[in-house]
């Protein structure tokens, strides 16, 4: 430790900043950045450039919102500008002179609230809406969130690119509607007289500076919200969905709820931006929200770094300033350069016509050479040192078991599968299968490949629908429940071919296991309410205890992305993730597959120690020695039929089992062998 410190001191002796602790360096950087941004209108007193910067802020907020949908939750949205338009027209219609119903007593209370005023343009009295900018910001968020849910709902079942085209469709529909319902939106001519914001009775007017500060404030606020969400239960759920929907739902994430939440929160950001944008512009036309805007926002997000909060802000600001400030000025700069160095040819160059060409080239080159974005969301962790990789590994059962409370299941049968049949088209994967797991017991399911073992797990955990039968867990019917509901009832599983969230680290993976046991909603997560903080702290402790069970196998690697782990360690992480949900029954699908004999033995011991703590376990396993070592009871499946059950040693000798497993000839050989021994 001392040595490392001294080393870093020596190597950074010339760079005092770099010698600081990373958090302090970060804080200092933020303070400097904030100071520069706050002082910008005074340092660079050009209203046009300040306006460019204010517009860039709008796009930064939009990029942050789209980042929640695309970057966090992985839902490709090509029509995001629709929500921008909805916020814009919401504020535009309720402050301009477009929609003016006849005045009646109905409007009196609204007038008292300052939302409308009575005006007369010759003829009867009319209602003029005068929605305050400051009230419009939060309410636009709500309105846009509502539309986010409305547009999101039909897309829930769609994957990837189908989702993209449907969102693109909504993105096309909204501006078309805005163009065609002239009476409300003034159509293509654009709204007239959208109100500028007022603060303390003072209108913002046309100077760009106050808008710049409001934009800056919005960006700061939404960066804060994004960061808080990212590091919360909600952010983890989104990332789980992005990485692997099936695994996410099996780990307790309600897909519908969290996808819609992503759409809603992303839309809310855009709705607020819409208000800000048209308040500054004082007009709104349908062309401001077409597909080009949506695609550019996506470009900003990708260029900045998908899922990276600071990255997308940087991407948006850079791209926007590039288009509105740097590229337009380029011609002037080159001309000045030409004048300075006396090359008249340079003075004749005109870039104005080719800005979009240059822009396209920049885009292509960026994707070729820096495709993870300017600030990638996942930073590469340095590989473990040789010493850490080869740190002494403890063999045998779990360590630190004392930190895990014992399970004390009610006696009786925990899981009862009765007559479950699953058909895929003409194929019968499970045929009226019965199976019982007593509380606190370990039951193993064996059978040759294709015998229906994994289908059995899938039907129990809600991933596959049963055609008939019943599955009761502690007296509650599981059939018909969604996977996340099954997990909530205490049934956790692992997958035969490991379904971790590949781009998340070990700690995050295991924390997602806790998802169903936590309650914080978006507001609590953003505000860090005392309840939320307590919950998160408890979750972190619990998860560390679970990871601690695996000792040196996982503890040094909690910050590593799981895609870089060894096969055996990934299996361990998956078991830890399932345990983190504190299940009442653990379903392990071939937990030792791909492990060498020593590792297999280690894991078997570990499972045994969980059993010793009272956990009920249902196990699929091929290695018969593991089964014999662990299981009290074995069920044998073949072609979807239960062909045998009993104690491990009984099953081993069962004729039907041997035939199914090994074929007739081999069975004969085994029998002879057994007789001989």
């Amino acid at each position: 430790m001392m040595k490392a410190l001294a080393g870093s001191f020596v190597s950074f002796a010339g760079r005092p900043l770099a010698g600081m602790a990373p958090e302090r360096r970060r804080a200092l950087g933020l303070v400097v950045l904030a100071a520069v941004l706050l002082a910008f209108p005074y340092i660079h007193d050009n209203d046009g450039d300040i306006d460019s910067a204010a517009n860039a802020m709008s796009y930064a907020v939009l990029a942050l919102g789209l980042n929640i949908v695309v970057g966090f939750a992985g839902l490709l949205d090509l029509g995001y500008a629709a929500f921008f338009a909805i916020g814009a027209y919401y504020y535009g219609i309720f402050t301009s002179f477009q929609v003016m119903p006849l005045w009646s007593g109905f409007w009196d209370p609204f007038a008292m609230l300052g939302l409308v005023e009575k005006i007369n343009q010759g003829g009867p009295d009319l209602v003029h809406f005068t929605l305050s900018f400051w009230l419009a910001l939060p309410t636009a968020a709500i309105v846009a969130a509502f539309f986010g849910i409305l547009f999101g709902a039909p897309t829930l079942r769609l994957r990837g690119d189908y989702l993209a085209i449907v969102t693109l469709g909504f993105g096309e529909i909204v501006p078309i509607v805005a163009r065609n319902v002239d009476s409300v939106t003034n159509g293509a001519a654009g709204l007239n007289g959208i109100q500028a914001p007022k603060l303390f009775g003072q209108s913002f007017g046309v100077s760009a500076t106050p808008y710049y500060y409001v934009g800056l404030g919005l960006v700061a606020l939404l960066i804060f919200v994004s960061l808080r969400l990212r590091d919360s239960r909600i952010g983890r759920a989104w990332m789980a969905i992005r990485e692997d929907e099936t695994a996410a739902s099996a780990m307790g994430v309600n897909l519908t709820r969290f996808k819609l939440m992503a759409f809603a929160i992303g839309a809310a950001f855009a709705g607020m931006t819409g208000v800000f944008f048209v308040a500054k512009l004082q007009t709104a036309t349908p062309e401001m929200f077409n597909f080009a805007v949506s695609s550019m926002l996506l470009v900003m997000v990708v260029l900045g770094g998908m899922g990276s909060v600071w990255g997308v802000v940087l991407g948006a600001v850079l791209l926007q300033l590039l288009q509105t400030w740097f590229l337009p000025e380029l011609t002037g700069w080159v001309h000045q350069l030409g004048a300075a160095i006396g090359v008249p040819a340079l003075r004749r160059i005109d870039f104005v016509d080719s800005t979009q060409l240059i822009f396209g080239v920049i885009l292509v080159v960026m994707m070729l050479f820096r495709r993870d974005g300017l600030i990638p969301a996942t930073r590469k962790m340095p590989a473990l040192s040789y010493a850490a990789q080869h740190a002494e590994v403890r063999r045998g059962g779990f360590v630190n078991l004392d930190r895990i409370p014992r399970w004390s299941p009610e006696p009786g049968n925990a899981l009862e599968v009765r007559g479950v049949t699953v058909k895929f088209g003409g194929l019968v994967a499970l045929n009226a299968v019965d199976l019982t797991v007593p509380a606190g017991g370990v039951v193993a399911v064996i059978g040759p490949n294709g015998s229906g073992k994994s289908t059995l797990f899938n039907v129990i955990t809600g991933l596959v629908q049963a055609n008939s039968g019943s599955i009761q867990f502690e007296g509650v019917e599981l059939l018909g429940l969604a996977p996340y509901q099954v997990l909530e009832r205490g049934v956790a599983r692992t997958f035969q071919n490991i379904r971790l969230f590949p781009n998340l680290n070990v700690l995050e993976n295991v924390l997602i296991g806790q998802h169903a046991r936590l309650r914080s909603g978006p507001f609590a997560s953003v505000l860090h309410t005392p309840g939320n903080r307590a919950e998160e702290a408890a979750a972190a402790n619990w998860v560390m205890d679970i990871i601690g069970l695996f000792g040196n196998r996982l503890l040094p690697r909690i910050g590593q992305t799981v895609s870089g782990l060894s096969y055996a360690n990934r299996r361990r992480v998956e078991i830890a993730r399932a345990l983190a949900s504190r299940p009442k029954i653990l379903l392990l699908d071939e937990p030792t597959a791909g492990m060498n004999p020593a590792e297999t033995l280690e894991l078997a011991e570990q499972i045994k120690s969980l059993h010793a703590l009272g956990l009920t376990i249902l196990l699929i396993e091929h290695k018969l020695d593991v089964v014999t070592r662990l299981a009290d009871h074995v069920v044998v499946l073949d072609h979807g039929d239960r062909i045998a059950e009993g104690r491990p040693d009984e099953v081993r000798r069962n004729d039907a089992v041997l035939t199914a497993y090994l074929g007739r000839a081999a069975r004969a050989a085994v029998m002879e062998d057994d007789h001989a021994s």
Binding site: D47, D49, N55, G193, V206, L281, T285, E287, T324, D353
Partner: protein, 414 residues
């Protein structure tokens, strides 16, 4: 006749005037900037370039001729299209307006192409008292006194036009079609744009007032390629005439496909259909017979028109279209205003230039007499009607020879 060589001389003259400007003899030597804000990239780039050519030519000529002693005009391009919007972007137009306002060297501006951009620019320019003259944005809202508080908060007119608003072109053409063409029924189309919708709306109101039966109203997507479904619908409705409010983007495709489907129907449009793009893109025989209107009196056989065409062709190797002319005239107005300010001995500054523009009289511009009313609109409200008739003796894409003047569209009598 201006030859290629003499154009070259003019061009070098301009360049040396710009470079040597500071060494010239006048004590009050001054280079003033005029911003021109159009959509130079994206979908409207081509027409922007053609509009801008008008101003480029006007200022080159003014500089070469020392039209305003001691004053050199520097025309600076501002692009209000962004890749983000894919076309004109009102937010960028506002940014450009702020850029011009915050640089004191700008004394006036030209543009924008689109009313949506104009709506975003006008309040800012009003606060900065920088006059802008639009060669092509026709939506009446911006100069409508009803919205004065919005678009010119500081009171004075700031948004001038050398183009008529939709408020007259449409209705007057409705009158012409009722009186002269004797149509009883019409089908109305627009191109979704601010100009086209406004024009078609104004036409429709007057057509209904004159008892013309409006058999239908449809909206074309200017980016779509195929209007045959809509045209088939019109064919089935069988009106006497088709009126189209819109610009060439959809107009070219419309003219082409209308020729196939409703070849014998009377077809008419506004000044958006008075364009070289239509002649070049749709061509004869498709465009033959179309009516178009222009918001200026027609000066027959005027030698200055021919001279302008020759100078323009010599400089740019293409023929001007009507927005080139409105833009050329806008630039002439600015030159004239600067001349008036300079004549008083004061430096040419934007406040004085705005006031001078308000009072400018150009008695014989290419558009006829130019004067602005207190809102910034042209005082002249005469709408001339043209019909495309093939003239083989002249180039088939030259609007001046292919559009034949057929008369004045009468004002609505109120």
């Amino acid at each position: 006749m201006i030859t290629r060589r003499s154009t070259f001389r003019i061009a070098t003259g301009v360049a040396s005037a710009a470079i040597l400007g500071s060494r010239a003899a006048h004590a009050s030597d001054q280079t003033v900037k005029v911003g021109i804000n159009l959509s130079f990239t994206g979908a409207d780039a081509e027409s922007a370039a053609r509009i801008a050519n008008g101003a480029i030519l006007a200022f080159e000529e003014a500089n070469a001729a020392h039209a305003v002693p001691g004053v050199t005009f520097d025309l600076v391009k501002f692009d209000d299209a962004t890749a983000t919007a894919g076309q004109y972007d009102p937010a960028q137009a506002a940014t450009n307006a702020r850029k011009m306002v915050s640089d004191k060297d700008y004394v006036a501006a030209i543009g924008p192409q689109m009313s949506g951009a104009g709506k975003a620019m006008s309040p800012i320019l009003s606060a900065g008292n920088l006059a802008i003259i639009t060669p092509s944005s026709t939506n009446p809202d911006i100069t409508d006194p009803k919205f004065a508080a919005q678009y010119r908060p500081s009171g004075k007119a700031i948004y001038f036009r050398t183009v008529a608003t939709d408020a007259f072109q449409g209705p007057n053409m409705a009158n012409y079609m009722a009186d002269t063409l004797k149509i009883k029924s019409v089908y109305i189309l627009d191109d979704s744009g601010a100009y086209g919708v406004g024009l078609a709306d104004a036409y429709q109101r007057q057509a209904e007032a004159r008892g013309i039966k409006v058999l239908g109203r449809d909206r074309l997507d200017p980016k779509a390629a195929d209007y045959s479904a809509t045209l088939t619908k019109i064919k089935a409705a069988a009106p006497d005439a088709l009126y189209y409010g819109g610009v060439g983007q959809a107009g070219v495709k419309l003219a082409k496909q209308a020729y196939e489907i409703i070849p014998n129907m009377i077809k008419a449009g506004g000044d958006g259909m008075q364009t070289a793009d239509l002649l070049k893109g749709a061509g004869f025989p498709a465009v033959d017979g179309w009516y178009a209107t222009v918001a200026s009196p027609h000066v027959t056989e005027d030698p200055k028109t021919a001279s302008f065409r020759d100078r323009y062709f010599a400089r740019f190797k293409i023929y001007p279209d009507d927005y080139t002319v409105t833009c050329y005239t806008a630039a002439q107005v600015i030159v004239e205003a600067a001349k008036k300010v300079a004549a008083t001995g004061k430096p040419v500054a934007r406040d004085a230039v705005r006031d001078a523009i308000q009072g400018v009289t150009l008695p014989d511009s290419l558009l006829g007499p130019i004067q602005f009313d207190e809102n910034g609109d042209l005082k002249n409200k005469i709408i001339s009607v043209f019909q495309i008739r093939k003239d083989d003796k002249h180039p088939l894409d030259d609007p001046d020879s292919q559009y034949k003047y057929v008369g004045v569209a009468p004002m609505t009598q109120s």
